[in-house]
Symmetry: C2
Subunit: 188 residues, 2 copies
DNA sequence: CTTGTCTATGCAACGAGTTGCATAGAAGGA
DNA sequence: TCCTTCTATGCAACTCGTTGCATAGACAAG
């Protein structure tokens, strides 16, 4: 149930509505977690029922009213309890790797376009992360590092950057391999 | 439904029982996909019903009999269809990153043990992958590269190795950050 | 001869996550 | 005026994945 905890962290960093959370999950939190708005709304409701969050109706001009969620004492305690409990190291689930091994039973060259498309997506993500790093952490306009939260957000972002760089390099390796197999002759 | 396709690829590489598949998913296939035996048995049953797989009862000595699954023509066709259909690039789901950002609202130093434990797991995985690479691909006993399947398995393994190396380096970065925050003073 | 371990298969219940659909206020453009 | 877009929330149905439990053959150790 890590979505609960991701929501707690995000709301501690800044209270917000379900809609705002959904947008954060497409951005900064999305570096390491994803969720659709439907899932977020459902979990928010359950967490309010469980007393981990509180809601406040906020009237807005120029747009529909919203419900602003924030973390309660018990919510904070639940997060702390989770932080102190060991978790299992992640296991990968990489569809593209399944495809690459599967290409042995089809035409490997047919995968080249797909792999190049994925590489482009990862290039875009890397550029997006680097722009965010410059804006929020390392650029001339960035605030001086003062609190732990900022340092920790930065180190997580560096993880996202490292992941994208590694992935791009690996996809280059994959492409080289596919081209080599293609040159060696289909069916060889 | 990528588990279906992972099973198709694994059974094309070598037919086997549900139990054997489960063990492969803890090993080589587990480099990029995971599944429990319960899930595997359920999916195997459905795939036989759908005509993608066929079963053969195999009597064994010294151990219980097993059901050996292999891929049918329609199964191969289903895999080919999936290979030619674009898939969405992966999104990360990294619990530990959630914890790291969450540490800002608790004691960052309390995370050090947890992060070190994860780093050790990734070191072990890396060692295991490197040993496998030496055994199957780059060592003196390894068979000479001849078919595409071998090359493709190798490039996927290189991806796993790159992922573990990147993760270990990032966790070192995380540890340095946590130690720095701890030295700067808790609550600072 | 009981206990434990490894091989081997499976059900039932639950929780997590996705997909499709539906509603509605506010703004801007055709 | 209608259409689209953005903000904002939510239900219903379904699939995917995990957890707990159960069974059973073969072997080895105590």
């Amino acid at each position: 149930m890590a979505l609960d905890h991701a929501i707690l962290v995000s709301l501690l960093e800044r209270p917000g509505s379900g809609y705002e959370l959904a947008r954060r999950f497409e951005r900064s939190i999305g570096y390491f977690w994803t969720a659709t708005h439907q899932q977020i709304y459902r979990v928010l409701g359950r967490m309010v029922t469980d007393g981990l969050l509180q809601v406040r109706e906020v009237e807005q001009q120029g747009r529909p009213d919203k419900k602003e969620y924030s973390v309660t004492g018990p919510g904070r305690a639940a997060l702390a309890a989770w932080l102190h409990k060991p978790i299992e190291p992640e296991s990968l689930r990489h569809d593209l790797a399944v495809k690459i091994r599967g290409a042995a039973f089809d035409d490997p060259a047919a995968l080249i376009d797909e792999v190049e498309r994925h590489r482009q997506v990862h290039r875009d993500r890397l550029a997006h992360y680097l722009a965010g790093e410059l804006r929020d952490f390392t650029g001339p306009e960035a605030p001086a590092p003062q609190d732990a939260g900022q340092e920790l957000q930065h180190v997580v972002l560096r993880g996202g950057i490292a992941y994208e760089r590694m992935t791009i390099a690996w996809l280059d390796d994959v492409l080289a391999t596919l081209h080599r197999l293609d040159a060696a002759g289909p069916g060889a």
